[in-house]
Symmetry: C2
Amino acid sequence: MIKVYGVHGSPFVRKVFIALDIKGVAYEIVRQMPFSGDEEYKKINPLAKVPTLVDGDLTIGDSKVICRYIDNAYPDPALYPADAADKARADWFEELGGTYVTELATGIFFQRFMRPFAFKQEPDEKLVADIIDNKLPPILDYLEGEIPANGFIFGEFTLADLSIVSPFINASYANYTVDSSKWPNLAGLIDRVKAIPQVATILAKEAETMGLKTNSATS
Amino acid sequence: MIKVYGVHGSPFVRKVFIALDIKGVAYEIVRQMPFSGDEEYKKINPLAKVPTLVDGDLTIGDSKVICRYIDNAYPDPALYPADAADKARADWFEELGGTYVTELATGIFFQRFMRPFAFKQEPDEKLVADIIDNKLPPILDYLEGEIPANGFIFGEFTLADLSIVSPFINASYANYTVDSSKWPNLAGLIDRVKAIPQVATILAKEAETMGLKTNSATS
């Protein structure tokens, strides 16, 4: 059976779980924290990042690489556009999702979530404010121009939608939400992606694993 | 005609030029330095990185995204493996090439090449030594185990070979060469990739543009 090394809550690991769930492909989760100093893990992923996927003889890292492999090896339903130009734009959105995640996930999420809960330290709110006020808006403006007011970027849902949205899920755990009065298309896309059943299921598992408070009817 | 924004000497832009040259696709180079603060450029590439490719209505950044697009849109000759698992491994090597380039290109190359020539500063040789002695060897060990003693990773040349080699070309401009007694397969791959005619042509253009001393017969 396919093995996925990683943990619930990573914006990258999340993409792989959801892609496999949508494809209906069974997998085993091998719990692995990123950058843990685990020398055995570095033998299969020298970057020490998560996720890593093992499928038979194949061992690969990086969520973009893994998700493209899943889509090629298990083609139904397709999670990338078929047309070469659309596929390239989807790839570009996925690349962007993996870069501004640095600002969001290692910035806002690390300061407001990881520091207090994992390290018992106060968040650096000045740094968070700089990210929110200065670093993020140009990329939000760019994304806003690329996202439609309704539906998904390429009509049907693709991993480009999930890649753009995934970092904002982590930021939401740290009480940052995209301002829907300034960036309505992006804010709408986040809601539409979160409403997909396989996404909602993974987010519920994250809430359970990470001890998050949710807005469910019972809370 | 296709436009490529970038400059000779970037390990990422180099891949795109070589891929287009091998495909025999004509293109125009638009000179663009990365991180230049050029607000007009950020409208087409919000990361301010190079390369960016414009082909008709399509505008995409990131050398990996661009090279995959080139291979899909201009399929002959193929520059990635056809098999899904091999294609995934090629993708993974390309991803790795874009990460340790950070150590090599922004480390050794920046210190020893950019600092003296562009900023008239002394290189920080202590930082360079830490990269060479501590940071690079684990990734070189990993690559050594993945590269064959002869030929290319997937038999025929693919962009996985070029992606692994490209950062080491920049490091060679800063007098760093991979020790062939410790990593013979990797050192051999670097030589084999540099001997490909379209690679050699681009490297000659880099030498001319960047004012490098070469080992040609006339020097």
